[in-house]
Subunit: 422 residues, 2 copies
């Protein structure tokens, strides 16, 4: 354990030593490294696939479920997609050095704010090997060094990918240690990494609740919070009902297992009798189980829509499946109250043509994304136009919502004077 | 201890319960509360002074040093200054609801980013009673609830000020608990507060290294880091020497005990022989003790300027006094290297007329403020034009440098659609 500790510290120190080189690398150098990385991933496809085949065989022998094996599995297409993602990150604007604001002081000082990298990022993830190249590309483009700590089941695959990453860095004249894969995947080593204050600036965990919980409990370094997504679609009295139906169906059924899927439908009392039967039919036709509040249940039943009574636990619950809670609320205030009480500040949507209701909902609902007349599923880095996403933050510190390149930077004040003193 | 624990939790819960009211309060309501607070502070001046006199008598009897008593002491003028600060915060623009960016997606979705409050802020401070009203005003204007935990020696003064704060809130129709002073000033209670994840969103410690260290060790909630300020003034080969002299003298001597004072002077080899004697004379004339590197020492000595040899410890040291390390560096790269190794990422200044050197220094030096041709002393919320400052962050997470109203907010994504689904 003390041996793991000292080797993790050594590893982090060797990554930290590359920070200045990364932070001051020009856009051209970083882009050359990204181009070389994409090329190396394509060139190494055969050895990456061979390593992945070994990982897969072991995971299959260990009786891992199909869904797990699917996340772990690479194919020629998936490797090409990894390389294409690196190319896509290369095409994004370099955030480092970007001046976000300028102003002048009465004494003539010119003040600006300029983006700089965070430093060293620790990325912790599970089975998907593509996170290895995705995270490395985002870190590199934003001038950060990165420690990659993937799941033990993907170690051979990740190591093969990491070789391509390293080759790309070196060929562009950047230090290979700027992207370092942790090959000691013991829990104790992860625990040590999480305590390396001063060497690691930010930890981004991507994975199930078990991983997130472990990281949260052991970390002494800043961690991006990623809590569950309990998202609502609220259909206001002045909604376009066909739009509301399409949004509710999409938010619930397009991918029920993800965090921006809706878990609960809130319907304004005024249109409950009109809207509940049609949306209920549309949802149940796609296999959704409805858990209805005491007001909505009889309306659904009278219309012949199958539904069961919601327990109080069903509100505020992340089903991650084709299950949806349904509740009738008296009005906009009732919806906002319900969301404040049961939501998880992830994604909240309103469907309405009423401008005042839109604006109150946008102002008063606290969530990383507040959506008007569209599906909750758009709360995603790619869909919002960030280009790529390294994670999503459900706390308000540093970043709130999907994190792209800019969220991997901080800002410094730049002061230009002509000899001013105080 | 378990009793303290439960009462701190109760206290934090009662503050948290006010979050929505604060977050959704209009600018008019918040400004009315701030106006009422300023008025109440003025109206209560006599009782605040009486409470402060008791605190002072006790502190004096306990043998507290003069500097401590001076920080603790209130006068009619200082109380007026407190009220005026509240008025000044009222006059600042409301950050909540501010839209910082907008863009449109190919599918027609309109994306914006809008500021929202952080939630509940825990402010921990020591002797100065004015922090009570300053922090409350900044929190209130930015829509945050705040828990104020001042030093035990200022408890009577703080309680008297807190009564004025509460009256102001209530008179504007806001919940009085939104600004709550902790009257249980036991260390154990502070420890409990620092563990209230989910109830407190951010802790801002303002005080000496003992306090900062205690908070850092015990906190399970996010904390604004405030490390020491080891700031440099680098005089480049192309500097205007009289400007450089004035900046070095101001950065060192205008207030040597603060974190944005300079601790080390770096002088380009090219102008060491010309510049060191004059700047050395100017500094020593103001009582500065120079600790000089092996190259600068003989130059100073030959010019009759008193100096002692610097030990290696003297570089990277925060003297907080009229002591300054002096080092000759070969060139811009040498200066940047020295700063990267010995600086604390607080404030770094260069004096030069050379645009290229300015731009490289600005890009390559990592510090919360990088200053060109002006004193390091300008790294301060008021001087930078933030209007007011609740603290200064020396880490890059969330905020880097002085924190004003905006740094007490986060940003949410706001998505406007016309029925888009995925």
């Amino acid at each position: 354990m003390s041996r793991a500790s000292s080797s993790m510290r050594q590893l982090a120190e060797s990554v930290r030593a590359t920070c200045r080189a990364l932070a001051t690398a020009t856009t051209e150098t970083k882009d050359a490294a990204l181009a070389a990385i994409a090329q190396a991933i394509r060139a190494d496809a055969a050895s990456i696939l061979a390593a992945n085949a070994e990982d897969l065989a072991e995971a299959r022998a260990a009786g891992r479920p199909e869904a797990f094996l699917d996340r772990l599995a690479l194919t020629a297409d998936r490797i090409e997609a990894m390389a294409a993602s690196v190319d896509a990150v290369r095409a994004l604007p370099d955030p480092v050095g970007e001046v976000t604001e300028r102003w002048k002081r009465p004494n003539g000082l010119e003040i600006a704010r300029m983006r700089l990298p965070l430093g060293v990022i620790l990325m912790i993830y599970e089975a998907r090997p593509n996170v290895t190249s995705d995270a490395a590309a985002l870190a590199l483009k934003s001038g950060n060094a990165v420690i990659l700590r993937g799941g033990r089941e993907a170690l051979r695959s990740n190591s093969a990918i990491a070789r391509a990453l390293r080759m790309g860095l070196i060929s562009a004249g950047l230090p290979g240690e700027a992207v370092t894969l942790v090959t000691d995947v013991a829990h104790a080593s992860l625990g040590e990494l999480l305590k390396l204050e001063g060497l690691i600036d930010l930890c981004i965990p991507r994975g199930g609740q078990g991983l997130v919980q472990f990281v949260h409990e052991h970390a002494r370094i800043p961690v991006v919070e990623h809590a569950e997504g309990v998202c609502h679609v609220y259909v206001h009295a002045d909604a376009d009902l066909s739009q509301a139906e399409a949004i509710a169906v999409n938010a619930k059924t397009s991918r029920p297992g993800v965090c921006n899927a809706a878990e609960c439908l809130l319907v304004d009392r005024e249109l409950a009798a009109d809207f509940l039967p049609r949306v209920g039919r549309a949802l149940t036709a796609r296999g959704v189980e409805l858990r209805a509040c005491p007001i909505s249940l009889p309306i659904l039943e009278r219309a012949g829509v199958p539904a069961i009574p919601a327990s109080t636990d069903d509100f505020g619950r992340e089903f991650l499946s084709l299950t949806m809670a349904v509740r009738v609320v008296p009005d906009l205030d009732g919806a906002i109250d319900h969301i404040a009480r049961f939501g998880s500040e992830h994604t909240e949507a309103i469907v309405t043509r009423d401008r005042k209701a839109q604006s109150r909902f946008v102002r008063e609902v606290a969530a990383s994304a507040v959506v008007v007349n569209a599906s909750t599923r758009f709360n995603d880095g790619g869909e919002l136009g960030l280009g790529a996403e390294i994670g999503i933050s459900t706390s308000r510190m540093h970043a709130f919502g999907p994190m792209g390149l800019r969220e991997l930077t901080s800002q410094k004040y730049v002061v230009h004077g002509t000899g001013q003193v105080r």
